[in-house]
């Protein structure tokens, strides 16, 4: 259990943020959401971001997605400046955000069909992803016929169908019950292992962060900064019994301490 300063040396990181800041101009004055964020993420790494509500986690993710522009510092993805959607990120939102007028397969294929007419290979790929999350029999169903957990699994498939290098998840399971959530976390771990994606997970749940990530980034209250980075040395295969181990408890406690200090 060691603090990881930056991503592994050697190759350039996939994501490189230096002194990144974000100010939202609003009617009642400027809101500083992020300030001086330094963060490097290596190719294939799984990073979880935890922090108090309103500290700028979603803002950070949207900047990575190219949906918001940073107002200070410097940020690159694949060595290219951030600033607009690169097409190289897949995004999973807190709610599944499926289009109710498309069937499951067409929803999964959306990132593809926004770019070109889906080929047989694309469709095979989408069906393969659905098979991976156990939903191949639901390809022709409408989202309205699926449970919340199933919908979120479809959303994960959709985020992966165009093979992006970066998988961005913003509290993807926050709206689900605890049991579904645990099952989906196992699923996400498997998807990550099998697809070798770089993943950024934003979550309010410290156990979820420790269970899934190789590194947990802790952010301060607004304006958000990175105040700690905790390496999670459990390898890539994570199983539910991990959560009962003392190491798991110790790492969770270390992260939780950041929030308790503030409350005391």
């Amino acid at each position: 259990m060691t603090a990881a300063g930056t991503a592994p040396e050697g190759t350039a990181p996939l994501v490189d943020l230096r002194g990144l800041g974000k100010v939202y101009p609003t009617r009642t004055g400027d809101v500083t959401a992020l300030t001086g964020v330094d963060l490097q993420i290596a190719d294939g790494e799984f990073v979880a971001v935890v922090g108090p509500s309103g500290c700028g986690k979603t803002t950070l993710l949207k900047i990575l997605a190219g949906l918001e522009q940073h107002t200070a510092g410097h940020g690159t993805l694949h060595g290219t400046d951030l600033g607009r959607p690169s097409g190289d990120a897949g995004m999973v939102f807190q709610k599944a955000t499926l289009l109710p007028w498309l069937d499951v397969l067409a929803n999964v294929l959306l990132p593809v069909t926004l770019d070109h007419r889906a080929t047989a290979a694309d469709r095979e790929k989408a069906l393969g992803l659905l098979r991976m999350v156990g939903l191949e029999d639901f390809a022709t169903k409408r989202p309205g016929e699926l449970s919340g957990g199933m919908q979120q699994r479809v959303a994960i498939c959709r985020a992966l169908v165009h093979d992006p290098s970066l998988l961005l998840m913003d509290e993807p399971f926050g709206a689900l019950d605890a049991m579904t959530r645990d099952a989906l976390n196992v699923e996400v771990n498997r998807v990550w292992r099998e697809t070798h994606k770089t993943a950024v997970l934003i979550t309010h749940s410290i156990p979820e962060a420790v269970f899934l990530a190789e590194r947990v980034v802790v952010m301060s209250p607004r304006p958000g900064r990175v105040v700690d980075e905790v390496a999670i040395p459990f390898g890539t295969v994570r199983t539910p019994d991990l959560m009962g181990t003392p190491e798991f408890g110790a790492l969770s406690a270390r992260i939780r301490r950041h929030f308790e200090v503030k409350a005391a």
Binding site: A65, F93, K95, L99, L110, L114, R142
Partner: protein, 276 residues
């Protein structure tokens, strides 16, 4: 006859028509029919019993006789066709204009900010009041009626469509943007389908308004149409014929409404059924 029942019965019956709820649904249907029969019977028996003159409230059988009068049928058909031509033509133009302007305004927030107060202002004037003006401008024929119908059908379609198009879910928008969607793709593949329920609500209002517009315009000055027939029958104090024409108008209005609702169910196949 079926004047009011289809609309009411649809709302009431559909939710109970779930599997296993057949008995309850049938019970309501029987109840509805019984009430209808009672009302019709009262219509037939009550006016003479109360000594109401037949030119005030004619009994049911007189109205039905006027309705199926073979001598009147060609007139009903000819004038009904005239009214429906006005309605459908005006509705078509009004819907195309309303939807088109809504799509344009939803894409141009600056123009929207300037134009929308005017839309609201015009929306709040009683538009049928300008019908006499349109008769001066466009004459007693078809054009003046169509213009009134267009005016009445246009606004509910426009206002509802704009609201639908502008209330797109933020996450859905982000989803499209993160995947590099063009503004055109966002318009056609996100905003339009997401707005369809609201667009159809506007269409339903537009249809009801279109019927009103056509009849009022015919009242103001026309040579043809069911509105003209009503005025003529009124002039001759033929109250049964007036009632018969009202029944015809109701039936046409209901038919249009059912058509739009059916279209909605086909087009928005993902929408949960009413009675959710």
């Amino acid at each position: 006859m079926t004047a009011a029942t289809p609309l009411l019965a649809q709302r009431r019956l559909r939710p109970t028509r779930r599997p296993g709820a057949g008995a309850g649904g049938r019970g309501q249907l029987v109840g509805g029919l019984a009430l209808l029969a009672a009302l019709l019977l009262a219509w037939q028996l009550l006016p003479p019993a109360l000594g109401t003159p037949t030119y005030v409230v004619p009994v049911l059988s007189d109205v039905l006789a006027a309705l199926v009068d073979p001598a009147a049928l060609p007139r009903y058909l000819e004038h009904g066709a005239a009214t429906m031509t006005e309605v459908l033509l005006g509705l078509g133009i009004g819907v195309v204009l309303g939807l088109g302007l809504a799509l344009a305004l939803a894409q141009l927030p600056r123009v929207y900010a300037v134009v929308f107060p005017y839309v609201v202002a015009i929306e709040s004037i009683p538009k049928v009041a300008v019908a006499p003006l349109f008769v001066i401008w466009f004459g007693f024929g078809l054009p003046s009626k169509v213009v009134v119908v267009v005016l009445l059908a246009f606004f509910p379609v426009l206002v509802n469509a704009i609201h639908g198009l502008r209330s797109v879910d933020r996450d859905q928008l982000d989803l499209f943007r993160v995947n590099g969607a063009t503004p055109w793709q966002i318009r056609v593949r996100l905003m339009l389908p997401a707005a369809l329920p609201q667009i159809f609500s506007g269409l339903e209002l537009g249809v009801a308004n279109a019927m009103i517009g056509a009849i009022v315009a015919e009242f103001v000055g026309a040579q043809k149409g069911l509105g003209v027939l009503i005025l003529q029958a009124q002039g001759r104090m033929e109250t049964p014929a007036v009632f018969a024409l009202l029944i015809i108008l109701s039936a046409l209005g209901i038919a249009l409404n059912v058509l739009v609702r059916t279209l909605r169910r086909v087009v928005i196949s993902w929408e949960p059924r009413p009675g959710r």
